[in-house]
Every structure is written in C-alpha cells, then in structure tokens.
C-alpha cells in the first residue's frame, strides 16, 4: 500500500507508455496495439484500486517537484492522493477498461484500429493525470491533453467533413472556456504565488479567501469558465452534440463518463476557492443548462444525439449539486452518471452495430426481441437515468441534488427547474426506448438485427450491475460516499430515509418520473411509424426544439461572422500591406544589386582593365628602347654621362 501512496504517478504513466508505444506500432499490428492499451489501463485500474484501498485506511499523500525556473520563481508540478482523486481514478480506470474491451469488438472492422487505441490510451493517461494532479499547472496541462485527445478521437474518421468540422468545433469552443481558465489561473498565481493545491499549508487552496470577496469570486468564476467549456454548460454547450461524429466508444468514454465530467471535477477540486457568490452562478448555470438541454433532447431523432443532450442536461444537474450542496453531492451524481451513461452509450453502440450503422431512431423498432441482452442492459441504464426509485443509482444521486436544491438558501428557482428537468428526462428517454426497442421494425435492417458479440455485451452487463449497485453507496440511510469524501464514518440509519423534507422530495421526484414515463409511453408506445405525435400536435414548438433553440445559427451569424470578417481583414492586411512592403523592399534590394553590378562591371572592372591596358601599353612602348643593339646603349650612356657632368659642374652654384 505504501508503495502506491508514494508512487501515485505510476497510475497515469502506464497508459501514457502504452500510447507512446502504440504510436510507433505499424497499422497491421492490431493485437499488439489493443493488447498494450487494455493491459495498461488494466494496470492503472489495479493501481487505482490499491490507492483507493490506501485512502480507506487514511492514506494521504502530496508531492511536488520543480519543472523549470523562470526568474526567481519556478513552475511546480506535483501529484496528490486524497479521497476525491482516488474515487475518480477508480471510476475513470474502470469505465475506461470496460470501454476498451467493448471497443475490441466495436472497432474490429475499422482499418485504423491501432491508431484508435493509441489515442484512447493517451486520453486515459491524461484523464488519470488530471485527477491525481496536485498542481493547477499540471492539471491544466492534462486538461489540454484531454482536449487534444478528444479532438483526435472526434475527428477519428477525418475523411468525413462533418467529423473534421465537429472536431474543430469542439476544440475551439472548449478553447474559449480555457481562456477564462488560464486567466483565472494567472490571477490565482499572482495573488497566492503558488499553483500547488496542497503544500503543507502553502498551497493555493489552503489560503482561505484570497484578496477580498470580489477578487476571489472573480478568480473562481474565471476558473469556472473552463468548466463551462469542458462540461458543455449553457453558452458553450454547442460542441457536445456535434461530438457524436466520433465512434461510439469515444462518445461513451469521453463525452459521457469522463472528459465532460472533468469540468465538474475541476469545480470540486478547487472548491475551497469558490465563494458563495460564485457558487450561486454555478448553481444557476447548471439548473438552466439542465432544463435547456432536456427540452432539446425531446425533439431529436438521432439515438446518440438524444444521449448527448441528456449528458449536457445531467452535467447541469451535477453543477447544480456542486453549487447548492457541495462536493459530495455533485461527485456522487458524477460517479453514478458515469456508469449509467456509459452503459447507455455502449448499448446505443450495440444497437447501431446491429442495425448496420443506422443511427436514426425512426428507422429502428422492435429490437427488444432481436437483441434481448442489449435491451435488458439499456433498460437498466434508462431507468437509472430517469431516476426510477430505490433500485437504481440515478434515483439516489439525483435525489441528493434535488434535496440540496430544496435546502438552498439563495433561491427556490433551481429546485423547480430540477424537478421540471426530471420530468423531461423521463419523457424523452421513454420516447427513445419505445422508438428503438418496441413496436414493429421500421426497416429491413432492423428486422435482421442480431445480438452483438459477447466481447461487447459483457461490458454492458457489468455496467448495468454497477448502475444499480453504485447507488446504494450514497443513500441517506448509509451515506458512505459523502462521508468518504468529507472524511468521517458513515453510520447505517434507515430512519434518515424517512426524514420529513427528504421524504417529500423523494416522493415528488418519483411522482414526476412516473408521470413522465407514463405520458411518454402513452404517446409513443401506441403510435405506429409515421410522424411524431408531438410534432403533429405542436409543430412550431417541436421545430424550435429540434433546431436546438437556434443557438448554433445565432453563433454562426454573430461570433463566427465577426471572426471570419476579422480574418479576412487580417488576410487583406497581410497580403496587400505587409506583402506589398516586403515586395517593395525586395524590389529595392534587387535594384540596388543591379546598380551594384553595373558599377562593378563598368567602374571597377573597367577601371582595372583600363589601368592594366595603360600599363601594358606603356610597357610595350618602353620596351621598344631595348633593341638589343649594345652600341646604342653605350651611346646613351655616353650622352647621359655628358649631361650629368654638365649638370654637376655648371648646374648648381
């Protein structure tokens, strides 16, 4: 045990090595690539379990090391082990392991099998690094790596223009949130002088209120911007549904269970920084997102898109839980949601696989008899998501959130929004299940659907069991989960279930869920194929919901247009002004060179040539004096002698 507490970094290191090795493998080595990835994440899972076991016995650890120096200070990175991190690591590793095994079957027909597992290992490494980081800097690095892995995996089938566009959209939208995160990080650093979370009293989370309520709130909200982007909260939710262009295991792992939960985890991790004012904002954003997304999900026809909007909605619930009730409430729903949402996505993948890559629910139907195992698992997940009481984990976790919202002193608004959202959730899930599994098959493909291979159905069943069992760790009767995170012992006390207000909330939510399922089943269960009855009844409203409240169109008309115009302006500037200047300079240089050359040729060379010609000419002229006649030389000597004599004798006085 002591070993893993001291060597926390091994948990993200294993998948990272697998990713590195996988990147070097050639395409045809499919078994090695998959084996590496599954093995590595299996090792991570075992180590995470060991770490979790250690924390159960009070094991805690923080470490930090210096990355690089700048000036007098240095950038510190570090690892930490605490209950929050340990439980997240176990959840992430377990869900990743199950989804990797599922992908062995799902992606068997794809040519880029090895690349898929390399990217998935990279994602797992980054995610595990994020949950175990002790430094906001290391957290941010892993945050960005996770975003990168998401980009690579959404755009896995990059030959499809829709997939490439969706990957870009995801990256850019989360980037906008990350900008706020970065500014918040810098502000925090400048105020506290450290980016380590826990440093024996010196970490940035151990400082109390930093620089006044306004500054603290500002920093908290800036960091929350990152969470808004990554977890698809209201203004920056637009990328999540488009991210369904990626393969279904990717959607299950990244965009349901883990990466999108990273935003929630971020808020949970920096919870000491959150002032009550910041938490108000968090709660309201979460509540509005929950209802907004649930409403849109009612009118979608793509099986994965319904689940995507459902994810956005549930993330809103998690934020609401964090804001109104605290870390334990939000994290409990995060954990249960990871299990049942992954289950739902994998089930949807199984259905898509069985119907030969058909994703429109209007073209399915009657799969209950043809894919029974998938149906059973999917039904368990659906009931967990809706919050069917007592046996399904979603009930307990959502109930905790609603209870916290009920007790929230600031406002009753989120509570009512939460209740309405629960009703909508039940409604759209029933619509989906009826369309896919009940009724008569709409197409031949659906008729010929076969159950999937055991390598795909086994993870479904394991997740179904978890979707049921995980809830029992957080009931009011035995709040083990909450006590584990907050550090205390949880006693088993059934009477807490019957506490007045808690019981009211439970009964209210049960009633709403029942209403939703009944009404949904009544509308959609009896109707045959053909137009959606809702659409027939309220076409305008349905169209608005189906078009996602026109948010994408609004963004395209404003933000995108503005950016494109600015980009065109910059292009003009670059091509005409700057390029023109460069061309002018180069023209000048060329002209100067030409001038130089002509001067060189005429003046320098010409001058030199003229000089040498002069020398040669004069030399030739002088050499004519030497005609080889010795007597002439003697004559000249004689004359010179006379001249000299005359000069000497009668020249000077």
């Amino acid at each position: 045990m002591e070993f893993i507490v001291k060597h926390i970094w091994l948990i993200p290191a294993a998948p990272l090595l697998a990713a590195g090795a996988g990147a070097l493998l050639p395409k045809r080595r499919r078994r090695s690539g998959a084996g590496l990835a599954v093995g590595a994440v299996g090792v991570s899972f075992l180590l995470s379990c060991a770490a979790f076991w250690a924390t159960l016995h009070g094991g805690r650890a923080t470490s930090h090391f210096r990355w690089f120096d700048f000036g007098a200070t240095s950038a510190q990175l570090g690892w930490m082990l605490d209950p929050l991190g340990a439980i997240m690591a176990v959840m992430v590793a377990l869900v990743s392991l199950l989804i990797f095994i599922y992908s062995l079957g799902y992606m068997a027909g794809d040519g880029n099998f090895t690349r898929f597992f390399c990217f998935m290992s990279l994602f797992a490494a980054a995610m595990l690094g994020m949950v175990l980081a002790n430094s906001l800097l290391l957290f941010f690095i892993c945050w960005e790596l996770v975003g990168l892995a998401s980009y690579l995996l959404i755009g896995f089938w990059f030959q499809k223009p829709a997939a490439a566009a969706a990957a870009r959209k995801a990256f850019i939208t989360t980037r906008i949130g990350d900008l706020g995160f970065l500014v918040g990080m810098l502000a925090l650093y400048s105020k506290t002088g450290t980016l380590l979370f826990y440093d024996g009293g010196g970490g940035c989370l151990e400082q109390g209120v930093i620089g006044g309520v306004a500054v603290s709130t500002a920093i908290a909200l800036l960091i929350f911007c990152g969470a808004i982007g990554k977890s698809g909260q209201l203004p920056l939710h637009v990328w999540l549904p488009d991210a369904m262009e990626g393969p279904t295991p990717v959607s299950a792992l990244i965009h349901a269970a883990t990466m999108v939960a990273a935003g929630v985890f971020l808020v949970a991790r920096v919870y000491p920084l959150m002032t009550p004012q910041a938490l108000q904002v968090v709660t309201w954003v979460g509540a509005l997102t929950a209802v907004f997304a649930a409403a849109i999900a009612v009118a979608q026809n793509d099986i994965k898109r319904i689940l995507a909007y459902s994810t956005v909605s549930q993330l809103g619930y998690m934020m609401m839980g964090l804001g109104a009730g605290g870390v334990a409430v939000g994290m409990f729903h995060l954990t249960t949601h990871a299990f049942f949402k992954a289950l739902l996505f994998l089930g949807a993948g199984s259905v898509i696989h069985g119907c030969h890559d058909e994703q429109d629910i209007r073209k399915m139907g009657g799969l209950r008899k043809r894919m029974p195992v998938t149906f059973a698992a999917y039904a368990a997940g659906m009931m967990a998501l809706c919050g069917v009481p007592l046996f399904f984990s979603g009930f307990w976790s959502k109930d905790a959130i609603l209870g916290a919202a009920d007790h929230w002193s600031a406002s009753r608004g989120p509570f009512y929004l939460g209740l309405f959202g629960a009703f909508l959730t039940a409604f759209y899930m029933t619509r989906q299940v009826c369309a896919v599994f009940f009724g008569k098959p709409a197409t031949g493909e659906a008729e010929r659907a076969r159950e999937s291979a055991p390598v795909m159905t086994a993870p479904l069943l394991i997740l179904a069991v978890l979707a049921v069992a995980a809830g029992f760790f957080g009931t009011p009767a035995w709040p083990w989960f909450q006590r584990y995170l907050e550090g205390g012992r949880a006693g088993f006390d059934l009477s807490r279930l019957l506490d007045g207000r808690a019981l009211t909330v439970m009964l209210l939510s049960t009633a709403l869920v029942a209403a939703g399922i009944t009404w949904g089943g009544w509308i959609y269960g009896r109707a045959g194929r053909g137009t959606d009855p809702f659409e027939k009844a309220r076409p305008a409203l349905f169209a608005c919901l189906r078009r996602k409240f026109f948010v994408d169109e609004f963004y395209a008309a404003t933000v995108v247009r503005l950016t494109a115009a600015f980009a065109m302006f910059c292009d003009w500037l670059d091509r005409v002004v700057l390029d023109g200047a460069v061309r002018a300079v180069s023209w000048l240089a060329v002209a100067l060179a030409r001038l130089n050359r002509s001067v060189d040729e005429s003046v320098v060379n010409g001058g030199f040539d003229a000089g040498t010609e002069a020398v040669r000419g004069s030399g030739a002229w002088v050499s004519r004096f030497q005609n080889g006649q010795a007597q002439r030389y003697l004559r000249v000597i004689g004359l010179a002698f006379c001249g000299l004599l005359i000069l000497l004798l009668w020249g000077s006085p």
Partner: protein, 170 residues
C-alpha cells in the same frame, strides 16, 4: 724642355695609334696600331716615374692583349666584306666628341692643375712588393682568383664542343 718634347712625342704617338686603331679597315692593322698606342702610353708612364706600371703595361697590353686581339681577328676571319662602320657612326663620333669636350672643359675649368709637379718620386719595386703583401694582400688574392676564373672561363667559352653521339635509330 726636353721633358715637354718627349711628352709631346709620346702623346702624339699614342693618339695617332689610337685614332688609327679605330679607323683602319684592315683589322690586323688596327690591332698593331693599338699596340703602338699602348707602347706610347707605357713611355708616358715611365716619364711619370711609374716604372713598374710602365713595364707592366708593356708586358701585358702589348705583349698579351694585342696579340690576343690579333689571334682573335685571325680566328674570326670572313667578316670584313660589309662596310666597316655601323650605319649610325656619325652619331657615335658625335657622342665621343661631346664627351671629350665635356671632360676637357671640366679640366680647363678646374683650378690648380697647371702647377709644376712636386718633388722627385721614388717607386722602388721593393716598396711595391711590401705594399702588395701588407696593405693590398686581399686585392692580390682576389686578383689571383679572378685571373684563374678568367683563364678557365675563357678556355671553356672558346672550347670547341666535341660532336654529340648519334641517337640510336628508332
């Protein structure tokens, strides 16, 4: 008085011989007249109390150089058909006359050359020998070397080369 006449006689002989040496057509006559000029000069040396120089002049110039010239003339026969004087002989004579005029002019213009000679002079051979061995021993040795080199050089230059052996037939 006698002295003067003797001098004039010798001077005339010398000059006449020199002029004849330079103007006669027949080369051997030129050489013999030159020998006469040398002899006249030897007489003048004797008159100037430089007996050793005079005799040396006779021995060397008349006895060796003149004869040498005669031999050379005889060895290089067959070159007198052309006109004896070069095409620019007038120019040469003019230059010679000019140089002479300059020299005589400078002599005439110099003071202190018209006095009588000083005391009688003795130049015994013993004294000459002593000087040669003491003061002028280096020039003496150098002259020895020079004469040896000249001898060898002259022989080598004038040597008739033996005929080269025929190269082997290809």
């Amino acid at each position: 008085m006698l002295n003067e006449i003797a001098f004039l006689l010798c001077a005339t002989l010398t000059l006449a011989g020199a002029v004849a040496a330079m103007t006669l057509r027949n080369l051997v006559h030129c050489a013999l007249c030159a020998a006469g000029a040398f002899a006249g000069l030897a007489a003048i040396y004797l008159q100037l109390d430089a007996e050793f120089a005079g005799f040396a002049q006779l021995l060397v110039y008349v006895g060796a150089v003149a004869i040498l010239i005669v031999f050379t003339i005889l060895l290089t026969r067959g070159a007198e058909i052309q006109p004896a004087a070069s095409p620019s002989w007038r120019m040469g004579v003019t230059v010679g006359a000019l140089v002479t005029a300059c020299l005589i002019g400078s002599i005439a213009a110099s003071p202190g050359l018209h006095g009588s000679p000083p005391q009688t002079v003795q130049a015994p051979v013993k004294r000459i020998g002593e000087q040669l061995m003491n003061q002028y021993v280096m020039p003496l040795e150098a002259i020895g070397l020079l004469l040896t080199a000249a001898l060898l050089g002259a022989v080598i230059i004038a040597l008739r080369e033996p005929p080269k052996p025929e190269p082997p037939a290809p």
